[in-house]
Point group: C2
Chain length 774, copies 2
């Protein structure tokens, strides 16, 4: 049990750490040669030019304006300055709504904290249970004096906690309701004001039944001409171009190596670069690298051409799926939301994701196998959650000194050295676990991909929900009960349903200090570290040194990254859970949560404005899941309070506390009915309105030409580009029209006219302006 | 514990009871004066005329053909003779599919019984656990020798039970799958071959938002003209005519009384009938009954006219709901299955029920209150299920001798008589429970009505599902554990999830004899009693004696009743549950189940052919629930076997048994995805096909005229009839066109042309023909 002083010390350390990150960030971002790492979003928008191209030689790389260093926290107000509508324009609705999650955290917890400190802290503090216990040599700290542990058994003071729990629930639900309402209306407004996009008119049809007489393309056309006679416009079949995409990627990677060796050779003309052709260039025959890669690239180019030919001509590479486009949004909405055929597993229609959101490799998965894949992954995830400690324990035992000596006896003499020995003993076991946790999001993403989701947004949402469950079980529960998930599973199966909340509830107050430390390390220092962007910084400079030849290469070397919904959202949810669980139990934890939400809000707002490049726009489709998880956290907190009070001989309060989760779930049902359709369905009235407006505004629109190639596999487009840099006029026209759906390349080259709002108001923080014209 | 001989004796008694019912039925139904009670379906179809109108005086009332009495079981093969397609034509798809539930019972349990007797009975019988136990003075019977109780603890023979449990599961799932497939295809075929019906073109819109400038009718018209411009045809607003309907009913009941007194007076002209005008005619002033009712009827008629005026003119009696009709089935399918407005709680569209299926009083319930009503009823049902014993215990204690003496002291002398004393002691406590159970389906139906469902079919489905849960808890579980539901609830909350199946599983084999007796009393004798139709028989003859003046009155005195899905289906499900639970435990129970299913199949097939008059046609919309409940029974049986084997020291089998429910639930999910949409959604392809066909067949159809008054509240129609017996030509035309949607009256008066199949093949059992032309 830590005392208040320990906590204070720990807080000081973490605040100091966060400050160091901020200072480092302030120094690094002001250097012109890092400009592309810290402001990639503006480059992508075409609103910022490279400061290294102008000025004196030194000022190209180092910022010599000392005034700018003094105002090293200036980015914070700057990040808050951009108003929300402009932010939506600048970074999309997804990003703006993602920020609202942090804001919601503040909205929930600031009043909750005030109330808890105003009522619960005095109520808890003015008892002497802990002091009496101390007399009996029970270890306890000042923290416990502020917590519910200090209230004696069966005290009427518990009514205060119950009352406050009600207040917390009502307030949280109120905030949730308002946010749901707001986000739903933002979504509708966004959808209504959006420009024309191919996905508004298109539907993805899957499981087209095989027909011996007709090709998939003919079949699709006939089916929709018959069943949507007045509305069908055109369609594009889906090709299985996964092999082609692999080849293109291979060629690209070899092109990178070629560039690397060419650069190396041009810097040091005396020696032609060589490389081994075996595994990872580590073994095998040594050859001239330049010749080797040139010939390999040529070979791959030929393969690509052959494969392309095959994909286009071979009927087997056509999947039984198609993107079908309609004349109006109304018709697309109708088709996407109804069942087409008598057999509900054939002619499955659903909204087409926007083109850049499509995860093309999964379109080649036969739909029939999807349910089996989900079942398999469900079982796999269960084992991953509850049994992941088993392989790690095995690895840990192997990674022990004896294990290594056994497997690799020749290392014995090295290992026996004292320094190495203690290093292995101290670091290796933890390393295995840490490595696993680092790779976990990737593993979950792989699992989601295996399940066959066809859009990036749904992949991220899916792996976020898995990550959340994993966190709940292995971070929250395992930390509370101090045991592996497997132990919990065993005890949960063998305990009665009323015993479980008691067991956990009893442990909750004792773990408060642990979670406070956790919040400071993971929440404060972790978030402050995010802004430093160490990994992209290092990678950018490595690439810049070894690969970059042209300005275009430099553009490609930027890796702005994206919000990372699949890891970020579950992290926020963990804080919601901690905050709600401890609100009525140990209110001292709440200020730490508030600091996290505030800091994260500012940091992520800055990152979204200056760094992240959104990969897709789902118009906040994730909000129902965010809402649902906060409800889960709320119900968990209520159950645990119920369990805790049951152990405190306050049984008369049980009926009042049982009512809480029931009311909360009823509230959730209400919200689902009222707001969730806004995120799942598209009302015909809205579609009709947009159609009518467009018909009035643009009566001669050639929609067919606009939609013709919208859903072409990107690999065909990129191959086109490789082969022929200047594109045909139709493509050009298409690209100019569909400004919101550029391919990766285009968005970096010819950015369209910047949106009005962001162009007129200040596009970047002021001190940046100072520096870019020194 | 009963021995085999006890069971045999009980079986003999019940078989004898069933036989008596059958003989009584055979005798009663052959009497011409009962003809309308036992063959009302044929009268309703207009295919049978009254035998009392022809022949000699005696043969009008008593059947003197003695040969017909000898073949008193002839109705059984006759009931089986009608082929299924003809049955669908004759009684609708609902009835035909309802019979398939019994057939499915046979399909499941006949092979299961054979397998269980071939494998499990020998495996169980050849042990001596029970005999050893008997030596230790444990009471046990021969039944137990055949059950799993006879296998010693930890015996490897339990593998046989596990194997057989797998076989049962696979077989049951196979039958379920095939049935689902078959019923889904029957439904589609039925929908495709159906004649034109108003509900195919109509959608019920609820929660039309209030508008200060426009009436509901205008608003609906404008909204659908804008959002479904090419498809909208017409609409009918919904009136709150509940008060009007009450008045009409009141008038009808007084008309009945008037008829009764008139008949009485005409038989005995000497004395004018008098009645008291107070409560139920028991107290108050005595008046001339004929004059009283005539004046009352006049008064009510005036009230009806005023109220009718008010409903038609007052805008407050127009509900914010409307039946909207479209030009094509395609458009109706689109509108019913999509969201119309941005706010998902406004402009709610759903399929309109067919006109005779509409439960008009509930259309007046504001839709906003529906979710609150459901929540209230959910809580109420929870208390009804788990706490219903409390009021009954109170009533029972009041109904005891002391209780009565206390409340009604003047009865003391009567009660103290020995005969009465024993009667009260023996009968009254049971009576309270029995009365409650008799009224339970009505209570559940009232609850469903309160919840606001707007069609009779959904009301019946809802109360069936409630009745099933009540049965499961209070018949099955309470009989197994021998305790009230409240005790169970307490123990379930305080036991661990693994302990519950163990507790119940352990009790299962011991209760086999109880359930065998239950099956014989409730299943065998109960079903045999159903065919006798005692209640309708008595009521018909009472009405015939006191009310009937004209042939029309006699037609109205028939009460054919309907299948009673809300009570019948939960009963079947209880037998499925018993059969599946005991299949692997006490196989001797299975033959009793088979006899039930066989007998019930024949009896209900006979009733459906000859008696029941379907109130609505939902095209087997109930099948997903039937399927779901069998799956629940299957999972329960698997869990209980798991629990039972765990107590039998056969722990190594646990993993194999855990896999079973998981596989079963996965199978259920598959079925849901594959077949449930057939019962919920209407594919556009089907709609388009039917539209195209109709356009080709009937290009000049005036659909608007056809749909104009389809959804008029029946009270307006019946008022029309009362006022003016010959209807205007439009109405006449409508009625002739919509043959499948007649009002109650019309169906009895001018039955349309009988369907081809039933007219050409024998319409009634042969011995009936014998007798009707003696």
């Amino acid at each position: 049990m830590a005392t208040l002083r320990d906590i204070g010390l720990s807080a000081a350390v973490n605040i100091f750490g966060a400050l160091i990150f901020f200072v480092a960030f302030a120094v690094l971002r002001l250097q012109p040669f890092n400009d592309r790492v810290y402001f990639p979003k503006w480059y992508l928008k075409g609103l910022r030019s490279d400061p290294t191209n102008s000025g004196t030689f030194v000022s190209k790389f180092v910022n010599l304006d000392f005034r700018s260093y003094l105002r090293f926290l200036n980015w914070m107000p700057a990040a808050l300055k951009m108003p929300e509508p402009e932010l939506i324009d600048h970074a999309g609705l997804d990003s703006a709504v993602y920020l609202r999650i942090y804001l919601m955290g503040l909205k929930v917890f600031v009043p909750v904290t005030f109330l808890a400190w105003a009522i619960l802290v005095p109520v808890n503090w003015t008892n002497n249970t802990i002091e009496l216990a101390k007399l009996k040599d029970v270890t306890a700290s000042d923290i416990d004096k502020l917590s519910i542990s200090n209230v004696p058994l069966g005290s009427p003071r518990f009514w205060a906690h119950i009352l406050v729990a009600y207040a917390f629930t009502f307030w949280t639900c109120y905030v949730l309701l308002k946010e749901y309402e707001k986000v739903a209306s933002m979504r509708y407004q966004f959808l209504a004001s959006e420009r024309r996009r191919p996905d508004q008119f298109s539907v993805l049809v899957r499981n087209v039944p095989p027909d011996p007489d007709e090709s998939v393309s003919e079949l699709v056309e006939h089916f929709f001409l018959v069943n949507h006679p007045d509305h069908y416009l055109t369609h594009q079949v889906v090709y299985n171009a996964n092999k082609l995409a692999d080849l293109v990627n291979k060629k690209k990677s070899m092109q990178n190596w070629l560039d690397y060796y060419q650069l190396k050779y041009s810097r040091n003309n005396s020696k032609r670069p060589m490389r081994k052709i075996g595994f990872l260039g580590l073994c095998g025959e040594k050859v001239d690298a330049l010749e080797y890669y040139t010939s390999e690239i040529e070979k791959t180019s030929e393969e690509i051409a052959t494969e392309r030919e095959r994909v286009a001509s071979d009927s087997k590479s056509i999947m039984p799926a198609a993107f079908v486009s309609f004349k109006t949004r109304w018709a697309a909405a109708v088709c996407a939301q109804t069942q087409q055929s008598r057999n509900p597993t054939l002619w499955l229609t659903d909204w087409a994701p926007e083109p850049r959101d499509v995860y093309w490799p999964n379109l080649a998965i036969p739909y029939v196998s999807v349910s089996v894949r989900r079942l398999i992954m469900g079982v796999a995830f269960f084992f991953l959650t509850f049994f992941f400690m088993i392989p790690i324990t095995i690895v840990q035992s192997l990674a022990s000194i004896e294990g290594i000596e056994k497997v690799l006896p020749f290392l014995k003499t090295v290992i026996e050295l004292k320094v190495i020995k203690s290093l292995i003993g101290g670091v290796l076991p933890g390393l295995a676990l840490k490595l696993f946790l680092i790779f976990l999001p990737s593993i979950l993403m792989l699992m989601a991909k295996f399940e066959g989701f066809i859009s990036l947004s749904s992949l991220e949402r899916r792996s976020a929900s898995k990550y959340y469950i994993f966190n709940l079980v292995n971070t929250f529960l395992a930390s509370v009960i101090i045991g592996t998930a497997l132990d919990q599973l065993k005890s949960f199966i063998n305990q009665s349903p009323t015993q479980i909340p008691k067991t956990i509830g009893l442990a909750i107050p004792q773990r408060a200090t642990f979670f406070i430390t956790y919040i400071m390390v993971d929440g404060w220092a972790g978030v402050a570290g995010e802004i430093l962007m160490l990994k992209p910084l290092i990678i950018y400079h490595l690439k810049n040194t070894f690969l970059v030849k042209t300005e275009k290469d430099r553009e490609e070397a930027m890796d702005p990254g994206s919000i990372g919904f699949n890891t970020g959202e579950p992290q926020i949810q963990l804080y919601f859970l901690l905050g709600l669980v401890y609100a009525a139990v140990t209110p001292i934890l709440l200020p730490f949560i508030i600091v996290f939400f505030g800091l994260a809000f500012i940091v992520y707002r800055h990152q979204i404005i200056n760094v992240y490049n959104q990969e897709y726009e789902s118009a906040a489709a994730f909000w129902p899941e965010v809402h649902g998880r906060v409800i889960v956290a709320l119900v968990i907190s209520q159950m645990l309070l119920l369990g805790l009070l049951a152990t405190k001989h306050a049984a008369q309060s049980t009926p009042f506390l049982i009512a809480l989760p029931i009311l909360t779930i009823a509230f959730h049902k209400y919200c689902q009915g009222r707001y969730e359709p806004a995120f799942v369905r598209y009302p015909l009235q809205e579609a009709m309105m947009k159609d009518t407006l467009e018909r009035a505004r643009d009566p001669n629109l050639n929609l067919k030409a606009y939609l013709q190639n919208a859903y072409l596999h990107p690999v065909f487009k990129s191959v086109d580009e490789e082969d022929d840099e200047d594109k045909n006029s139709l493509d050009e026209k298409l690209d100019n029209e569909c400004v919101l759906v550029p391919t990766k390349r285009q968005s970096r080259k010819n950015t369209p006219i910047p949106s009005k709002v962001s162009a007129t108001s200040s596009p970047s923080p002021p001190e940046v302006d100072d520096k870019s014209r020194p």
